[in-house]
């Protein structure tokens, strides 16, 4: 059954029943390296991108969500359970696709996927049937009896996705699922992930350092930098941040409007009949009044939707490596 309208990350006042993942002040250190520095995240249903540069703490966060490590500080909730205390219960309902490409080379894809299905509690007969079904669904029907070592990187990534969803999890965590793929394979993989999130009804947390990927498939995003959350929300909210200004499409000569706005100190970029006016929350009113003043017909007036790259860069983030202990304190 398709999932209900995906919503991506939730605002703090979101209904607790629909929050898939929630962390509060999570701190995790690896020796002197501070991987997560008080991370607060709320992720709702649908496909959510976990964005950040290499070393920003994405994989550490995924490990904590699975209960593979305990946080040094803070609290975590996955599907309403604490993975630190109820790890097996959480992991039975969660699928995970690791970042690495190495898989047992001499094992057939269908045997591998079936084995992971059994690991997650499927009876043997059911696991056998579902392994074949899922591989068919992901476009590996004809290849399912091939040993993993003979498969291409793209096929192995699909097998990793198949093993993550074979047991029909509620939530699937995908760690860099497009790593090593060529552009065509990447497009295919992103389409599959979108399908998993919408058609299969499984919530997806997609870890990636590629902004464009998240922008294409996710309903929301959490942006991590040096172990801290620097932005989170639905994709529309993130991109429509009011600090991004407005875009206005006019009918006719925009020169009088541009002149008026520039006289009031607003920077205006003109591209044909499309104007981008930078500014804060008040710029909507200013542009509306300017349009009325010069009597210029308007076709569309909307918030400037920034790309995630712009959102990321506007946070003043460079690099993204985990902080040192001194840096945190």
């Amino acid at each position: 059954m398709p999932v209900a309208a995906p919503a991506g990350p939730r605002s703090p006042e979101a209904d607790p029943a629909t929050v898939v993942v929630r962390t509060r002040g999570v701190v995790k250190r690896w020796g002197r390296t501070l991987a997560l520095a008080g991370t607060d995240v709320e992720i709702g249903p649908g496909v959510t991108g976990l964005l950040g540069a290499n070393g920003s703490g994405k994989t550490t966060l995924l490990g904590l969500l699975l209960g593979l490590h305990a946080p040094d500080e803070g609290a975590i909730e996955v599907l309403g359970l604490d993975p630190t205390r109820a790890g097996p219960e959480v992991r039975a309902r969660v699928g995970y696709s690791p970042e690495h490409h190495s898989l047992p080379p001499d094992v057939k894809a269908v045997d591998f996927v079936r084995h992971v299905g059994e690991l997650h509690g499927l009876p043997r007969r059911e696991a056998t049937g579902r392994a074949s079904d899922v591989l068919w669904q992901l476009g590996l029907g004809e290849e399912r009896t091939r040993p993993l070592g003979t498969m291409s990187t793209g096929q192995r990534q699909r097998v990793k996705l198949a093993q993550a969803i074979v047991h029909d999890p509620v939530l699937v965590l995908l760690d860099e699922p497009t790593e090593g793929l060529d552009p065509v394979q990447r497009d295919d993989m992103l389409a599959l992930i979108r399908r998993v999130g919408s058609e299969f009804g499984i919530h997806v947390v997609l870890s990636s350092h590629v902004l464009d990927e998240v922008e294409r498939v996710a309903d929301g995003a959490v942006i991590l930098h040096a172990g801290r959350v620097v932005g989170s929300g639905s994709l529309a909210d993130l991109q429509a941040s009011s600090s991004g200004g407005v875009v206005v499409h006019v009918v006719g000569d925009p020169t009088p409007l541009v002149t008026g706005l520039e006289e009031r100190g607003y920077a205006v970029e003109v591209s044909g009949d499309r104007l981008f006016v930078a500014g804060g929350d008040e710029v909507f009113d200013v542009v509306r009044d300017g349009l009325a003043h010069v009597g210029l017909p308007v076709r569309r007036l909307e918030p400037h939707r920034r790309s995630l790259e712009e959102v990321f860069l506007s946070s003043g983030l460079v690099g993204g490596q985990a902080a040192t202990e001194e840096g945190y304190r």
Partner: protein, 305 residues
């Protein structure tokens, strides 16, 4: 083009025949029962046993384990053959069958080879191929993962520590040359089981302990062989040359365990001066050390970072 007439669509089809086939069932949610942690443990155990024995793998992967298992059964089969083919009076006159306690020195090389192969295959492969991350992302905990791996190694090693003497016992009893009476048979059966279990526990623990320290199977196999040979030689030198107590030889991984088997069967140990308590302490020390190393290693292992 085919000359066959087109199907008569107007003709009613046989109601017994299916009128349509589902070619794509789509993604199906699963709402059935789940086997829980117990199911996870069983599947890891089964997969590990199959892997160690080369089942569902290439021919080359089957050669070493099956050869080692085969070799360990060869003396038992030979002894059974002798009993079956040679008349009892001839046996009494010129040939004495080895006792159950004396069996293991015949297959010492096969045991060492098998033991040094099994644990690395079961444990190192998962870390090398990244399967460990997938296993620990399942309902298994680190302890239940290690437990299922240990159970698999124990099961496979038991094939050669329990199987051959048990086969001999059954064959001897059938041939009428076994222990006297039901009590004698039951006593031998229990002693075979106990000694086989203790040997399997020891080699499982030591094998897992060494294998937990490296991702490479070849390194683990070499390290295990070296450990068994070097430690045993060193202890032998200490006892023979430095005059240390003979009980120290219970820590030898080559001779100590087999001497323990002889003692369990009520025979004189091949190590002079070694008693059952000291032999048990030596075996227990290695077993505890092996399991402790494995547990500490896996509790502190970083799976994702």
């Amino acid at each position: 083009m085919s000359d066959a007439p087109p199907p008569d669509l107007a003709k009613p089809s046989d109601p017994a025949e299916p009128r349509a086939r589902i070619l794509d069932r789509g993604y199906r949610p699963y709402r059935g029962p789940r086997t829980g942690v117990r199911g996870s443990v069983v599947t890891v155990w089964r997969q590990s046993v199959q892997r160690a024995l080369g089942i569902r793998r290439s021919v080359w992967a089957k050669v070493l384990p099956l050869a080692a298992v085969g070799i360990s059964y060869v003396p038992a089969i030979v002894f059974i053959g002798i009993v079956a083919l040679i008349p009892e009076e001839n046996l009494d006159a010129g040939f004495e069958l080895p006792s159950f306690g004396e069996y293991f020195p015949f297959i010492q090389a096969a045991v060492l080879l098998f033991v040094s192969f099994v644990s690395p295959e079961i444990l190192c492969t998962d870390r090398r191929t990244g399967m460990l991350g997938i296993y620990l992302a399942s309902p298994l905990s680190r302890d239940s993962y290690v437990g299922s791996k240990a159970a698999a190694a124990f099961s496979v090693i038991s094939l050669i520590t329990i199987g051959p003497p048990l086969l001999m016992l059954v064959a001897y009893v059938l041939q009428g040359v076994g222990p006297d009476g039901p009590a004698g048979v039951a006593g031998s059966f229990v002693r075979i089981l106990v000694s086989g279990v203790l040997l399997a526990l020891l080699y499982t623990a030591v094998g897992l302990g060494v294998s937990s320290l490296t991702d490479r199977k070849a390194f683990a196999t070499a390290a295990l062989l070296l450990l068994m040979v070097v430690v045993s030689s060193f202890i032998a030198i200490l006892v023979d040359e430095a005059g240390l107590p003979a009980e120290l030889q219970s820590l030898s991984l080559l001779t100590g365990p087999f001497a323990l088997v002889e003692l369990i069967h009520g025979e004189t140990a091949s190590i002079e001066g070694l008693g059952l308590p000291a032999a048990l302490v030596g075996l227990g020390a290695w077993t505890l050390a092996g399991f402790a190393v494995t547990r500490v290693r896996y509790q502190t292992l970083q799976v994702t970072r």
